[in-house]
Symmetry: C2
Subunit: 121 residues, 2 copies
């Protein structure tokens, strides 16, 4: 068993790429990932799972077809499975994503922003 | 679909009891709970699931039979399933717990600290 705490700020200091989630922990078959967002992602959905965003620093927006949700540091949101969404951040935002192992960042959408999966830091 | 962000500080302001987790969100069959810790809990384990602690404010310790892990704000830890542990906090600490729906706080241990399950705020 690993016996060190996982420090989010230390992990965030290890990468700078936007839209490129890095895995920091696993709980059963779920993963905790850190991501840096800036600009606008692509519309997509995850047909088989909900997806959680928890903002660590900055501010982001989760856009839906009929509304937008603003998330600031210390705020979280559960995107329901199958619901189309897009993430945006006018300034760089640091967030944690929690979802089952194997989920692709662009979901059902084919995109140049599709990131390599399961990259640990 | 709920369209409001879940603000951890706002939710934490809604209760004061120690060792009494409150559910704030669900992702698939997992729950996000907030808890206020102060003093020492009881030794217990969860035979069927890992359990995540993420400290929001203050400092806590997760004791294992052969070591202790200190967690400060912005740090998390995954307690592996089946591993005996105890949580402690010398001053009040606010943390988020992430685990499957239905997990009892005292796990396999019978205790006066066993909290009512599935209490939402």
């Amino acid at each position: 068993m690993k016996t060190n705490a996982i420090n989010l700020a230390e992990k965030l200091a290890k990468f700078s790429e936007h839209w490129s989630p890095r895995v920091i922990a696993e709980m059963n078959d779920y993963q905790f990932k850190l991501v840096k967002l800036q600009g606008e992602f692509v519309w997509h959905s995850h047909e088989h799972t909900d997806e959680v965003f928890l903002v660590v620093q900055g501010e982001m927006e989760i856009g839906f077809r009929d509304c937008d949700v603003v998330l600031r540091a210390g705020e979280m949101f559960v995107v329901p499975k199958g619901v189309e969404h897009i993430t945006r951040a006018s300034s760089e935002c640091h967030a944690m994503i929690i979802e089952p192992r194997g989920v692709i960042n662009t979901g059902e959408a084919d995109s140049v922003l599709t990131a390599q999966n399961n990259v640990w830091i």
